[in-house]
């Protein structure tokens, strides 16, 4: 092979390699992408039962019920609808009634949401930012005051 042909071959090999990597990457990407929903979105029935997704909302006060072992049930609500959530495990430190959480899991045929992970990372308003965003109305405040934080939110400077 001439020098030029060698170089072309090397470039072709590189492109094939990169293409393969990109294809693999995007497949993995599509498979592992999760959308974020609110209870109203789920009750609208557009998502398939059993699909893995993230559900965000506020934990309704007084709804948290402990069961056998580590079983826990609670109701997750946005401003309009609510949905029973079932979880088996340890709740995060920041989990509180009346505050926002994000649950990863899937909708069951019986209308409950089975969570395999509960996240409660949140900002100073005790809301995960996605939840705050999803619940926001025009004036920038949360629409569902009754659910809003039980914790005293100090005025920020």
């Amino acid at each position: 092979m001439t020098k030029r042909q060698k170089r072309m071959a090397a470039i072709a090999a590189l492109l094939v390699g990169l293409g393969l990597a990109a294809a693999l990457g995007f497949t993995a990407f599509r498979k592992n992408m999760m959308y974020f929903y609110t209870p109203s979105d789920l009750l609208a029935g557009t998502t398939p039962v059993g699909a893995k997704l993230r559900l965000g909302g506020l934990v309704e006060r007084g709804s948290v019920k402990r069961g056998e072992g580590l079983r826990v049930d609670f109701i997750l609500a946005d401003c309009v609808h609510n949905l029973p959530v079932h979880y088996e495990g340890i709740l995060p430190d920041l989990f509180r009634e009346g505050q926002g959480v994000v649950a990863t899991g899937s909708l069951q045929a019986n209308g409950t949401f089975a969570a395999d992970e509960i996240l409660a990372k949140h900002d100073e308003n005790y809301m995960p930012p996605q939840v705050a965003e999803a619940l926001k109305v025009q004036d920038g405040k949360h629409a569902c005051a009754p659910f809003k934080s039980v914790m005293p939110t100090e005025a920020k400077k």
Binding site: L24, F29, N32, F36, D93, P129, K157
Partner: protein
Amino acid sequence: MIPELGHFALILALGVALIQVLVPAYGVWKRDARAMAVATSAAQTQALLVFISFGCLMASFINLDFSVAYVAANSNSELPMIYRITAVWGAHEGSLLLWVAILAGWTLAVSVFNRRLPADITATALSVLGVVSVGFLLFMLLTSNPFDRLFPVPQDGKDLNPLLQDPGMVIHPPMLYMGYVGFSVAFAFAIAALVSGRLDAAWARWTRPWTTTAWLFMTLGITLGSWWAYHVLGWGGWWFWDPVENASFMPWLVGTALIHSLAVTEKRGLLKSWTVLLAILAFGLSLLGTFLVRSGVIVSVHAFASDPARGVFILGFLTTVLGASFLLYAWRAPKLVSEGEMTLFSREGLLLINNVFLVVASASVLLGTLYPLVVDALKLGKISVGPPYFNAVFIPLFAPLLLMVGLAATVSWKRAKAGEVIRHLRAPFIIALIAAIAVPLLIHERAPVAVIAGGFLGFWAIVTALQEIWRRIRAKTGFVSGLVGVPRGVWGMSLAHLGLGVWALGVTFVSSFSVEKDVRLAPGQSIDLSGYEFRFEGVEPRTGPNYDSDFGTVTIEHSGEVVATVHPEKRLFRATQQMMTEAAVDHTPFRDIYVALGEPLDAQGAHTGDWALRLYYKPMMRLVWLGGALMVLGGLLAATDRRYRLSRAAESRVASNSVVA
């Protein structure tokens, strides 16, 4: 008074930084030696002013001056002294000041240790570092001044984020920033090379120790961060593919590629424009990381600022710096002609392939990190990409890298002979394969294919690294003289590769043989996990300096003997009313036992009733961090190799002569 002094020093620093940018640049343009010489003194003055400012903020924290808004937001009269000091970088404004202070430190180092560089290179590099400094000083003064006063002065501060009240947090941010900011030096040298049009072996030799030093700090910072997350976040994981972790991992990957391509540029005069591009990218990703963390566009423990103006500023700065660099690159890089030919089966060829893999890996992290942000910005819904994506992409990208690490020392520069390579590597191959099958069988009595594959890659990297050292020693007559005769550069490379192997072993074993269980236990009750008997002795209330704790006691027995008594804790910080999990870990080199308290499950009371507990058995967990530590040690040895120290004078003489000629 002290805060005003700090603020004033910061403003002065901005002025001096502007001089540091403009005067040397004019000097390089007009070839005016006096103007170029201003760079050094301006850099040193600026560093002094920034350090004064940093000292003032620290003094405000130590004195608990709650009239400073930033101190009031991140400190409390009950906060122990050590955390008062580290609270300086506990949130947005202060961590920016730390960023600028570390940049000033690196700039100072360049101005002191590179006196023998050609004057125009030093002047250009310091001017570029000045541009970065101006950007960040402006950012701080315009959007996030740490010295802003607060009126009325509050009675007490709000306290430091409890997650950050941990020894791991004391040194993790400075180390990581040393790495982030350190890449700005490689970037400045790259720009200097583009401006001067000179990129030779001498340039690579100046740039290598700086880059390696930045890289080793970054490695240390990431390792510490991982260790912190492991025992503070209470989930027992050591890497979460959190966007902020990714933000530090991307420049690390590209920085690793840069270290390797610099070797090719130094030894063979090849890949010149590629090296320059990597230097620009590594710094660009550092800036992007800062943007991601500081702009509040991502949800994370680290993302404290959510003021859009800040994000816009950093994004604008990022665009300007990178845009200008790429323009310069497009204009000047074609002049950086590589000498000589490259064959694929040679050390430089393999290093090029290693670079491609590292850059692709970095790009895939970038995709997974930014894609959700882009989708969100375009209002196409909110998505998240979980760890499965990153794991699926990373394993096929890292396996070939580990295979190639084994070839590193054996394959020679220019053109390697396949027969010789195979002869050399036959023994390590067989040893690694046997170890990969035998070790899991001996410890865990089973060896799934995934473990054999991962274990083989790990042992392969370890055995070949040791082989290289052994070969160097045997080349000399006596063992001791051989040991002393091994150059630090070779030690560095071998130790870093050994570290990679150790890390891979750790990852393989932890991910395959970990056992975890969330359980409900009553006081006095016990449960078996992987042959270990965990007895929950109960929880008692305790009082810490600024928190109240539920102090648990768990006794761990193995074949009838008490192995350890551990104390996992739940801490409720009084000022913030935030709950923190303090996991308890009992570790030997070969296994970790990890116990975290979940929550009290009985209404009857936290101190008598049932608790949720999280129990883990994690074999070889320590190897993950030991691997990181070995890489850091390797970087340290490589950066201090004597040829960088001795040859500098000789080199710059040669370099300046060639300029005159």
